[in-house]
Amino acid sequence: MLSSLSHIRIAGLALSTGSVTRDFIADGLALGLERAQLERISQTIGMKERRVAAAGITALDLCEDAARRLLDEMGIDASAIDAVIFVTQTPDHSQPNNSSLLHGRLGLSKSTAAFDLAMGCSGWVYGLHQAALLCAHGGAARVLLCAGDTLSRLTNPLDRAADPLFGDAGSATLIEKTGHAPAIHFSLEADGSGAKSICVPAGGARLPASLSTKQELKDADGNTHHAENLQMNGSEVFNFTLREVPGSVGSVLKMAGWTPMQADALILHQANRFMVSTIGKKCGFAPEKTPMDSVETFGNQSSASIPCTLIHAFGGPLQEKTLKIVACGYGVGLSWGSVALELGPIVIAPLQSFPKL
């Protein structure tokens, strides 16, 4: 689906990461893996460190911290928010949803709408589209989009294909209606036939959690996991991104009337450095326009990775000037979404951990 929406702007961004730093090689050595093999993976894929949530901290806590800091930085009262959208696949409860819990924690008005989007790595782009729709056609003046996950809790430490990848984070993005802003262009797509490529099989209504869903099994690659763990077919996911992301990015570039040379940056979901580098090249963007450092510091942060990379790589310039940004999120669903927008100057709350160290 292609969509262009006018008279909307992103006004501010904030991100809170988990407070515990995990080192890829040290973790692998602790599990008895060989240093040479760990270094080979670290150098090829680009895995160094990641930040995970401390015990008891959830995506709701991380997003609340980001939202509070953003609203404080912008000097906006919570009563001025017309809707809150929470993008997560790791909610506090199956009921009520995270957006309602955040609504209560922030003391939002009863006239403020609140709903969740159960999406992963493409979720920030999908959420931004929903927020932009509410501002363009839904009567909202300001929408708070929170996107975050604690995927590190879902992986099995003995699954070396998935466990070392994920960091935990929560983001807050404030979208507002404005009289004069260039259109924002979206491409949103999905392929449910690949749904099992990234999957947590148990814990939902189809297969409730039980003693049997905690039984660990070793797969063909020697990775161990059980049915309540996040399981990922890495080669199929990589294949799908190679196949779909360039076309999606090309669509929004065409809608915006830009070439890769004219755009200032391509912000790809930070799955890992290798994927970002390979896909960026295939999309026709120079490596210096495709930031890929944040994943080596913070890990794959699911729906929070695009806002994290915007802040990490362009936080300074975005507070002072306008940049032509193309962003693409891709992952669980399978689903993927791209956006092309002129971004900045915007308010950015400093990137920090929660609890603050």
Partner: protein, 76 residues
């Protein structure tokens, strides 16, 4: 002019560290190589996409027994 099998194999080895090493030939059984793992398969996918414009699935690559089987995907 199309590349020879040796040239195609050398190019693949240069991109996939798991296929490099003394005594590794087109006939070597891939399953016997210690570094023929999920990372090597990722690198093979990338090589075929970048060098030949082919997007192969992990399943297609895992079904290959030798290096020669891998090269069969290249139209010649």
């Amino acid at each position: 002019m199309s590349k020879s099998e040796t040239e195609l194999w050398s190019a693949l080895q240069a991109d996939v560290d798991g296929l490099m090493g003394p005594g590794i030939t087109l006939e070597t059984r891939l399953e016997t190589l210690p570094q023929w793992d999920s990372l090597a398969i990722l690198l093979v996918i990338t090589h075929f996409e970048q060098a030949h414009g082919l997007v192969l699935s992990g399943k297609q690559i895992r079904a290959c027994k030798t290096g020669r089987d891998l090269l069969q995907f290249i139209p010649r």
